[in-house]
Symmetry: C2
Subunit: 199 residues, 2 copies
């Protein structure tokens, strides 16, 4: 005897999520069976709605319920700066910080030739079109992760954008606030020394 | 700015699952957004169906798509033995083993006065009714976990069932096959010595 079909199917579906293996999926499926019906219905609906009601902003590529997105529509934001990020989650992180008032551009990935991700696969073309159209842009901040792919993508974009006379910057690299020098890796330390500032 | 509503709602729903905190829920929600639409639809449907299409068997309490369940309906099973287990997952474990051909009774929990779980809260009443009705039952195997609650429930059931003249047994306790004596806890060792068998 195997699991009844509905349970087996739910286990399969949980297993499609990252980091969830068969044991966890089974536990989650049985847990789901015992959840209040309303909760399960809401869960089920929210899955569909995240696919149906969320779109990419046609300007910046961020996820949004309305197009253009809230940030692109906001007249109070500084239109002279565009921060280029990898994913929508990065936008959320900067918005949570609350200190940045410019616009964003979400690449939805980074260049990674090994995985078959070239400039066509990520949201670069729309960034270039945007920079050509919007004269008010003065600075492009490349806020990409410091992974090899992130660095390579930043270099690629800098080469592409700089000739247009725009200021291209990247985030400061150095020691994370609250971290120990003792445990920092040597590349971080190197960057921290290179980027030292006057006191 | 917070997460767009559909994402926030999905994060909330993922967080209702056991062992999933805010960070994991957020990761899962964003992952869901990028999943193929068919997969998400299937996931959504399977959640609903696990609530709608699975019921408790009116005889043994196991989860089933049809009532009575496959096992209770199976004419080839030995109706003289009933194995009492805590949860449907335990039935699956014994069925996977393949050596047991009797019937089951699923309690859906164990007695736990601390958590407000008394005899009324678990599937005990239907077990007693069942034993009174079905004359062919000769033995009741109490296959409960060896937690304090499991042990207490087994004692309670034994007291209840034995007076009816039925054989009441419990699973052998001892060293797990493949385990090291060195690492076994002392209660397990004590049980293993008490239950030693002739060679």
């Amino acid at each position: 005897m195997q699991y009844p079909l509905p349970i087996a199917r739910l286990i399969d579906n949980y297993m499609k999520l990252p980091g969830i293996g068969e044991k966890t999926a089974t536990r989650l499926a049985f847990y789901t069976m015992d959840m209040p019906e309303d909760d399960v219905e809401d869960f089920s609906k929210s899955l569909i709605q995240v696919k149906e009601n969320l779109h990419s902003c046609s300007i910046c590529g961020n996820i949004t319920e309305s197009d253009p997105c809230e940030i692109c529509r906001d007249a109070n934001r500084d239109r002279s700066t565009i921060m280029v990020v990898e994913q929508p989650k990065d936008v959320m992180a900067f918005e949570e910080m609350g200190e940045y008032n410019g616009l964003y551009h979400v690449l939805h990935g980074v260049l990674s030739p090994m995985d078959g991700v070239g400039p066509e696969e990520i949201n670069i073309k729309s960034l270039i079109t945007r920079l050509q159209k919007q004269d008010e842009v003065k600075e492009v901040i490349l806020a990409l992760n410091s992974s090899p792919e992130g660095e390579a993508t930043a270099m690629y974009l800098a080469k592409l954008i700089k000739p247009a006379g725009l200021k291209v910057t990247r985030l400061a690299a150095g020691l994370a606030v609250g971290s120990d020098i003792e445990y920092a890796n040597s590349i971080t330390l190197k960057r921290a020394v290179q980027g030292r500032t006057d006191l």
